[in-house]
Point group: C2
Chain length 478, copies 2
C-alpha cells in the first residue's frame, strides 16, 4: 500500500490528494465510483482522519470528486452541457512543467511483446510492416541522393517537406496552409507535447474525449493540466458540455480526434462539428484537431477536417504519417498561427535541435510522387480487408456476445463485451493463450470494452487470434 512520504516538503494532505488524483486519472476509480471512506483510508495509510478529509476537500474543490448526502464520496461524472472571437493566441504562449508518465496494462503488453514470444498482436496501434510503402521508399532512396548533405536543418522542419505538405493539406484535407504556418514534429505526439508544455500552464483546465488516445494522458498530466472529459458516442464527441465546463472550470483548450477516433473508430457528426466550432469560436477556446487517421478512409473520400471549416482560426491542426506511412519515421506536423509556430519552433529547437533530415526528405519525396496515391489505395484495401476478417471472426466466434460500430476507416475496432467483465483479467487470460489487445479501461471511463487494432496482425492471424480471445473471454465470464 502506498504511504505518504513524511520527509517530503509537501504537506501530507497534498501528497494524498495528488496520489488519489493519479489513481482516479489512471482509471482505478472510474467516474461515478465510490472512494474509500475517509476513516478507512486514513487507517490504511496511517494518517489522521482529518488529513484525508483535507485531501478530499482539495479534490472536491477542483471538481474531481463530489460528496453525496449519506452515501460517501464519489468520482465526479462531470455534467456536460455559445458570441465569437479568435483565441487570444498570445495569452496562450506561457508556462509549463514536467512530470513522469505511467503505464499499467500497456507496460504489461509491451513487456510481453518484447519477450519475443509469438503473440497475435491486436494491441500495437500501428500498421503491420508490410502495409508501409517499403518498395516506394527503396526506389526513392536509390533514385535520389537523399542521404547527401546531412547538415543541421531548419528547426521548423525541412522546407521541401513543408512545401509538399502545403499541397497535401490542400488536396487531402481541404486546408489552405503556408510553408510558414507548418511546424514539422516527431509525429503528432511532439506537436501535442509542445502544445501542452508551451501553450498551457500547470493548473489549466482542458477538455478531452472520453475515451481518448492513451499516450496523451501522461503528457497532460505532466503539464499539470486538469482534465475534464467529454463523452464520445456513436456520433463522436458531444460538444454539449463545453459551455458549462468553461463556466465552471474555465477550460482553456479542447483536444479532439474527429475522424476514425482512437479508440472508438467513430467519426464526428457534421452538425456536431459546426456546434463545436461555434461554441469554441464564441468562447475563444482553441480546439486541437488531432487527425492521424483520415487518409485511411475505406471509401476513399475522408470526412473533411475541422480546420477546413474553421473561419475563426480556432483550430490547431495536427497530422502525421504514422498511421498511413510508417510510425517509426516519426513525421508529424502542426498547422497553427504564425506566432504559435514561431514560439513552438524555438521551444523544439531547445529540445532536440530539429528532426533528423533523412526521414523528412523521404517524406517530402514520397508525398510529391505518384507512389503516395498508389500506396493509399493499397493501404485502404488492405485495411478494410483486415477489418472484414476481424468482423467475420467476431461473428463466428462470439455471436451475440459483442457489439461495435463498424469502422469506415482507421486502424481500430472498439468492441463492447455484452456481459460484465473484468478487462484486466481478460487480458491476462488472453496473454496466456497468445493474444494481446488493449483493455478499454485504459482509454477512459467506459468499462466492458476492448480495442482491437486490426491493422497490426497479419490477415491469417486475425481468425486464430479472435478464437483465442473467445476462449479467454469464456474463461473470464463463466
Amino acid at each position: 500500500m502506498w504511504q505518504p512520504d513524511r520527509s517530503s516538503k509537501q504537506a501530507l494532505y497534498q501528497q494524498i490528494a495528488a496520489y488519489m488524483e493519479r489513481r482516479i486519472f489512471y482509471g482505478e476509480f472510474p467516474p461515478g465510483s465510490i472512494l474509500p471512506s475517509e476513516r478507512k483510508f486514513a487507517e490504511q495509510i496511517n494518517v489522521n482522519r482529518s488529513t484525508v478529509v483535507q485531501a478530499y476537500e482539495e479534490l472536491r474543490a477542483s471538481g474531481i470528486i463530489e460528496s453525496m448526502v449519506g452515501s460517501g464520496t464519489r468520482v465526479s461524472k462531470y455534467k456536460w452541457g455559445a458570441p465569437k472571437q479568435t483565441p487570444d493566441w498570445l495569452q496562450y504562449l506561457e508556462g509549463g512543467t514536467v512530470v513522469q508518465p505511467n503505464q499499467s496494462f500497456l507496460r504489461t503488453i509491451r513487456e510481453e511483446l518484447d519477450t519475443g514470444r509469438l503473440l497475435i498482436d491486436f494491441a500495437s496501434g500501428e500498421l503491420s510492416p508490410d502495409l508501409s510503402p517499403n518498395e516506394a521508399i527503396r526506389l526513392l532512396l536509390s533514385e535520389h541522393s537523399l542521404h547527401e548533405d546531412l547538415g543541421y536543418d531548419n528547426p521548423q522542419g525541412y522546407v521541401p517537406l513543408r512545401q509538399a505538405l502545403v499541397s497535401y493539406l490542400q488536396q487531402y484535407r481541404g486546408i489552405r496552409a503556408t510553408e510558414s504556418s507548418i511546424l514539422i514534429t516527431s509525429g503528432s505526439h511532439q506537436s501535442l507535447y509542445l502544445i501542452t508544455q508551451r501553450l498551457l500552464s500547470p493548473g489549466d483546465a482542458v477538455a478531452i474525449e472520453d475515451p481518448s488516445y492513451y499516450y496523451s494522458l501522461p503528457m497532460f498530466h505532466s503539464a499539470g493540466l486538469r482534465l475534464f472529459r467529454l463523452p464520445v458516442d456513436e456520433k463522436g464527441v458531444c460538444p454539449e458540455g463545453i459551455l458549462s465546463l468553461y463556466r465552471e472550470h474555465n477550460i482553456r483548450m479542447i483536444f479532439v480526434n474527429p475522424n476514425y477516433h482512437n479508440p472508438t473508430g467513430r467519426v464526428l457528426d457534421p452538425s456536431r462539428r459546426e456546434r463545436l466550432l461555434d461554441v469554441c469560436g464564441h468562447l475563444g477556446i482553441p480546439v486541437v484537431e488531432d487527425d492521424p487517421f483520415s487518409l485511411t478512409s475505406f471509401a476513399g473520400n475522408p470526412p473533411p477536417s475541422l480546420k477546413s471549416i474553421d473561419v475563426n482560426s480556432t483550430v490547431l491542426y495536427i497530422g502525421s504519417l504514422s498511421k498511413t506511412v510508417a510510425s517509426g519515421l516519426r513525421i508529424g506536423w502542426m498547422v497553427a498561427p504564425q506566432s504559435v509556430v514561431n514560439r513552438l519552433t524555438d521551444e523544439r529547437q531547445q529540445m532536440d535541435f530539429g528532426l533528423s533530415v533523412l526521414p523528412q526528405r523521404i517524406a517530402a519525396q514520397l508525398l510529391s510522387s505518384d507512389h503516395f496515391d498508389r500506396h493509399l489505395q493499397r493501404l485502404r484495401q488492405e485495411l478494410s480487408h483486415k477489418r472484414n476478417l476481424l468482423i467475420d471472426a467476431l461473428q463466428r466466434e462470439l455471436p451475440g456476445e459483442v457489439s461495435y460500430t463498424l469502422p469506415q476507416g482507421g486502424l481500430h475496432l472498439w468492441c463492447k463485451i455484452k456481459r460484465p467483465v473484468d478487462d484486466g483479467r481478460l487480458l491476462e487470460e488472453g496473454m496466456k493463450r497468445g493474444v494481446v489487445f488493449v483493455p478499454g479501461s485504459v482509454y477512459g471511463s467506459e468499462s466492458g470494452y476492448v480495442r482491437f487494432t486490426y491493422a497490426r496482425p497479419q490477415p491469417d492471424e486475425i481468425g486464430p487470434g479472435i478464437s483465442k480471445f473467445a476462449q479467454a473471454l469464456r474463461a473470464v465470464v463463466k
Copy 2:
C-alpha cells in the same frame, strides 16, 4: 525601453530582477561591467527607486552582481577557488520548467545564410557536406533493407545501435557501458535538455565553462538554472573554483566539454581532469561530460574521456555523431546510471515518442562496419588540412595581429584579436564583404575573440575568407 508589466501577478521588483538577469545572461553586461545606477534605471523604467534597490538586492543575494563602495554596482566576476561519494542520483530525479530561447548575433548570421547569398561560412559549427561518409551511407542503404519495418521503436533507442555503441565506447573512448545504460537522443542536444529539465530544478545552481557551447545557454535558462562560470585557459577549464561555488551557491552539477572544447578548441589537462573528478567525487556533484569532438583528433589517439577514469560514477557521459558523421542525422547518446536512463527514457517518450528509426539503423550499420574507421581517417586528414589552410591564411593576412592555441582536433579555432575591437561591428563589416564567423562574446565573458569553424568552408574558400575578414578588421580598428 523595456517596462515592467503592471498587470502581472509577479511583483515589480521580481520582474526587474528577472529582466536584468536576462540582460546579464545574454552578455549585454559582461562580468565586471557596471550596471546603471538605481536612480537612473528607476527613472528609465518609471518605477520607484526603492523598487530597483529591491531588485538589485535580489540579484546580489544570488551572487550575480556585487556592490563596490563608492563605485556602484557591477556584474560579479565570480571568484573561483575536497571525502568521496557517488552522487545521490535519486535526489536529482525531480522538477523543471520551460522558457524561450534567445539569439542575437547567431540569428543575424542564420538569416544572412538563409538568404542564399554566397557567403564564406566560418560560422556554422559543423562539417562541410563532403566530409560526411555519404558514399558509405549510400552503400549501406543499397546493401541493407534499412527502410523496412519502420514501426514504433524502443523509446530508449534502437537496440542494435545501443549494441554498436557498447563496442564504440569501449574501443574509442575507453568506456565500459551496457546496452541498458545507453539512451539514444536527438544529438547531444537532447541529452543536455533531458538532464537540465529532468534532473535539475528551477533555481538550482550549476557551473559551466566560460566560454561555452552557445546553444546550451538558452536551455539552461529555460530550466531556470543559476549559472556560474568556470574560466577556460590554455589547459582547459579550471577546477579551482568548484569548492567555493559549492559552498557559496550549492552548485548541483557541472557541465564540461574536455576535448577540443567549443569554442576554444582546447583539451583539458590530465592533472585537472583528476582534480575535477576528485572534487566532484568528494562533493557528490555530477559532472556532465559533453564529448562530441574527440574522434576528430588529428593525431589519431584522442585524449581519454573523463568517464573512462570515473570510479565514483560521477560522470554523465554524452556523445554524438554530429561532429564526426553528420549533424542532420540527429544521433547522440548518453551513458548514465540505469535509474537515470529509465527516468529520462520515460520523459523523452512523452516528448517525441522516440527517435526516427531509419537514421538509427544507418548509424548502427555504419559504426559496425569497416567504413567507419576509414571515414575517420579521411575526416582527420581533411580537418587538419583545413586547419592548416586557416593558420596559413591568418599568418599571411594578419601577421602579428591575432593569436590562438593551435587546435589538435575539433572543428574550431578560437582567435584572439590583439587590438581592442567591437566584435558586433566586426561581424557587420565581415558580412558586407561576404564572410561570416561567430563573435566571441556569444560564448561567454571574454571579449576580443572570434570563433572560426575551419570544418565548414571548402578548402579553396578559406584563404579568400580570411582575406575578407582581414579587410573587415581593418575597417573596424582603424
